[in-house]
Every structure is written in structure tokens, then in C-alpha cells.
């Protein structure tokens, strides 16, 4: 799980152009949207692409995305349970 979390943080930093942010800066349980990393609607859409591209997981829509993208920990757990890659 720790490996999944670290890899996921690196992937998110790269995919969302989060310059000056390192994996150790991201709290596993902090909200990704609103506060925390302060991601926006385009970032949410890019995370949906990331899930499919890197893990073969197809999320239906942003409602499903909202539930999965609550925090890094929730995302990583979902990936471990549903990944096809």
C-alpha cells in the first residue's frame, strides 16, 4: 500500500503540473479538493484520465470521481481493489 501511495503521489504531481510539490508534502488523508492541494474541476477530469491510463480503471462520471478522489489514501485503496493494470 505504501508503494502504491508513493507512486500515486508522484503520478499526480506530474499529471497535474504541481511544480514545487514533493510526495512528502502531500498528506495521505488531507482532502485533495477545496483545501489541501486545492485542485479544481480540470484536475478532477485529468485524474479520471490518470486512473484509466495507469490503472485501467474507468470511472463513470465526476460523481463517482468525487467519492474516489477524497484523499490520496482513499484513492490508493480504491486502486488496490480495482486495478486492471
Amino acid at each position: 500500500m505504501k508503494e502504491t501511495i508513493l507512486k500515486l503521489k508522484q503520478e499526480i504531481i506530474e499529471a497535474l503540473n504541481l511544480e514545487d510539490i514533493h510526495p512528502e508534502d502531500i498528506d495521505d488523508n488531507a482532502p485533495l479538493f477545496g483545501s489541501g492541494l486545492g485542485l479544481d474541476s480540470i484536475d478532477a477530469l485529468e485524474l479520471i484520465v490518470l486512473m484509466e491510463k495507469n490503472y485501467g480503471i474507468k470511472l463513470k462520471d465526476h460523481a463517482e470521481g468525487k467519492a474516489v478522489f477524497q484523499s490520496i489514501a482513499v484513492m490508493a485503496d480504491y486502486i488496490e481493489k480495482n486495478r486492471k493494470k
Binding site: 479544481d40 474541476s41 480540470i42 479520471i48 484520465v49 465526476h62
Partner: protein, 385 residues
């Protein structure tokens, strides 16, 4: 500088619903739509609903010109529309007092994907494409292209008004066109902005927009013909930004409201027959417009959207929808919003669901686009004295 009356002297719409404005208006009045589902089109994995030209419609219509030069489908649609509009006037398009203004978001973008006729790479450039379009009519002036996302069609008309006001031209040929492609559809799919079914503007069950393609032209002049006929005049126009987000609409409808506020100055709200909105049928856009329209004090004025007939025709939308609106009022009609059944926005608006009669002769056109931009125009019909 004294204010000069700008008047419309001709118009045309080329769309999946017809090749003239009259044909288009007749079909829309009957409630027709070209929206249908496309599966496996352009090799896209997800099906989508759109309003597209069938088969070789544009190609066949253009072949009557017996042109030696090669033109792309986008350019042919624009040329056809301009030609048809010019037929209604005695304007000489090769005059240097005529300015071509083109509104488009992606022009010849499909050439990046598929270029069977081997157009040079430069042809993807909008200015180059516009030069070919204006060149068909032997116009010597550098054409102006507006690429301001989905509000381009209104911006192009505002640009025309300004050119005509300052006297840098006497006739402005304003054309909006966009042709759908794998590039555009896939992009909107990545935004999850598309509805799988025909769109439902302002409806509580709306779930996204449909894309469309069309070419539409309006020709404006700064010298009104010497007769007692009633003519359409673009009275005022404004472009404003939300200053909020590059793709998400403003929660306060900021730019939309400010554009409306600007064009309403000095106008009698009671003279307005309807507000033709952007009404794309996305959750956020229609909600935002309901807020802006209410903030501007227009909540009791009939509001409609034409996206249920045409889909979102992007660069063509601002011109196509203005022209249909003018033809509607020529027919004393407020068109119904196809797809609308039950109100689904937080601010109650008077959404026109069926065609209605009116004796008013002014309307507002409202649009919004990516980049946080919004535009509005006030149109009035009257006799130029």
C-alpha cells in the same frame, strides 16, 4: 464622432436543417432537429449525439461553382453561406470598402488528423484559411478572424459594428463557421460535457450539450437604403469576463450579468420580446445564465435556447442564433426551447417552451465561452429615418 446607424442588409444559414435562412427558420418553427446519435464516427470509442451535415451536402452544393482552386469543407461551408447572403444584395465583395470578418473556433483543425487532398500545413492557420475564403470573392483586405471560444459569433458582430462606426469599411460580411471533427468531439468528451441524448436546455434533467456544425452569415452596412422598410439594427454589444475560471462558469454569472447590464443601458426593457440565451444544457452553464439574467432584471422576459435544434455550433452559434431570432420576430414569433420540459435552474425564468406570438421587435442575444468570456448584443427592428 457621431453615431452611425448600422443595418443588416442580408443573412444566410447553411446547416443540417437547410441551405437558406428561410428554410432553416421554417424547420425550426416546425420543431425539427438534426440531432442524432453517432456510433463509431471518426473511430471514437464513445457514441455521441450531434447535428451534422449528411454525406456530401457541402461538396455537392459547392460543385456548382466549378472552382479550380481547392477548398476544405470548412471553407466551402463559409463560402456557400457568404455567396448566398451576397445574392440578396448588390454589394461588390471585391471592393476595398468591404471587410470580411470570420468567426471560428477550430477552422481547418481536422487537417491535423486527416489531409487526403494534401493541403499545405499552413492551411490549418485560421488567418490563412480566412484569406482563401475572402480570396474566393477577390476581396483585397486582410480578413479579420475572431477566435474567442464560443462567443466568437457575437464578438465578430461587435467587431463589425465598430469597423462600420469608425468608417474603416462600409460593408462588413460577418461569417461564423465550424465543422465537427474527432479533435473537437473527443475534447468535449474528455470534459464529460456531452449529453448522450438530445439536449434539454434549462431542464431539471439536463445532462450536457450536443455539438453541431453550421455556417452563418450576416451582412451589415453603415448606410441604410433610402426606403421605408423596417430593418434590423444591432444597437449595442458588450464582451465581459468572469475573472473566475478558464472553463467553469462563474457562480455569480459575473461576466454575463455585466455584459447584459452594459447593453441594456438606455434601452426599454419592455420592448424586449425575448432573450436568446446560450442555453447549452450543461448543469453549470444554464444555472449561471439564470443567475445573470435575474441579476440584470430580465427574469420576466421570455428566455429561449436554440441548442435543441442545432446543437452547439461553436463559432457559428452567435451568428446563426442571432439570424434565426431575427427571422422569428419577422414572423412575430418567440421560438420554443426544444428539449425543455421542467424548470431546473435555481432562479425562476420565463423559459419559452412552445412557440408564442409577440408584437415586440427587439431581442437580446447572450453567449458564454471557455476562458471565462461572455458576450451580449441588443437587436432592434425599425424604420431608419
Amino acid at each position: 464622432m457621431g453615431y452611425i446607424m448600422i443595418v443588416k442588409i442580408a443573412d444566410n444559414i447553411i446547416s443540417p436543417l437547410g441551405m437558406t435562412s428561410e428554410e432553416n427558420y421554417r424547420e425550426v418553427k416546425k420543431g425539427r432537429t438534426a440531432l442524432k446519435v453517432y456510433k463509431d464516427r471518426w473511430g471514437l470509442p464513445e457514441p455521441f449525439t450531434a447535428s451534422l451535415f449528411q454525406g456530401d451536402t457541402i461538396e455537392n452544393a459547392f460543385s456548382s461553382f466549378h472552382s479550380h482552386a481547392q477548398y476544405t469543407e470548412f471553407e466551402k461551408a463559409a463560402i456557400l453561406s457568404i455567396h448566398q447572403a451576397l445574392q440578396q444584395t448588390d454589394v461588390n465583395p471585391s471592393s476595398d470598402r468591404v471587410q470580411f470578418i470570420l468567426s471560428t473556433t477550430k477552422g481547418n483543425i481536422s487537417l491535423l488528423d486527416d489531409n487526403p487532398y494534401k493541403f499545405p500545413e499552413e492551411r490549418v492557420l485560421l488567418g490563412s484559411s480566412a484569406k482563401n475564403i475572402a480570396g474566393f470573392f477577390h476581396n483585397p483586405n486582410q480578413p479579420i478572424v475572431i477566435s474567442n471560444a464560443c462567443i466568437s459569433g457575437v464578438c465578430a458582430q461587435i467587431t463589425a459594428m465598430r469597423c462600420l462606426q469608425n468608417g474603416s469599411c462600409d460593408i462588413a460580411i460577418v461569417t461564423g463557421a465550424d465543422i465537427q471533427s474527432r479533435f473537437i468531439v473527443s475534447g468535449f468528451q474528455s470534459f464529460q460535457a456531452l449529453s448522450p441524448l438530445p439536449c434539454k436546455p434549462f431542464d431539471r434533467d439536463r445532462c450536457g450539450l450536443n455539438l453541431g456544425e453550421a455556417a452563418a452569415t450576416v451582412i451589415y452596412s453603415n448606410s441604410a437604403p433610402q426606403d421605408s422598410e423596417e430593418r434590423w439594427m444591432p444597437v449595442s454589444g458588450a464582451i465581459r469576463n468572469d475573472a473566475n475560471h478558464i472553463s467553469g462558469p462563474s457562480r455569480t454569472g459575473e461576466g454575463s450579468y455585466r455584459a447584459l447590464r452594459s447593453i441594456l443601458k438606455g434601452q426599454d426593457v419592455n420592448s424586449i420580446a425575448f432573450v436568446n440565451s446560450h442555453g447549452t444544457s450543461t448543469a453549470y452553464n444554464d444555472e449561471m445564465e439564470s443567475i445573470a439574467i435575474t441579476r440584470a432584471g430580465l427574469q420576466d422576459i421570455p428566455v429561449n435556447s436554440l441548442k435543441g435544434y442545432y446543437g452547439h455550433t461553436m463559432g457559428a452559434a452567435g451568428i446563426l442564433e442571432s439570424v434565426i431570432s431575427m427571422h422569428a420576430l419577422d414572423d412575430s414569433t418567440i421560438l420554443g426551447t426544444k428539449g425543455f420540459e421542467n424548470a431546473g435552474v435555481s432562479h425562476p425564468l420565463h423559459i419559452s417552451s412552445q412557440n408564442e406570438q409577440t408584437d415586440k421587435t427587439a431581442f437580446i442575444k447572450l453567449l458564454s465561452g471557455f476562458g471565462g468570456c461572455n458576450a451580449s448584443m441588443f437587436f432592434k427592428k425599425g424604420i431608419i429615418l
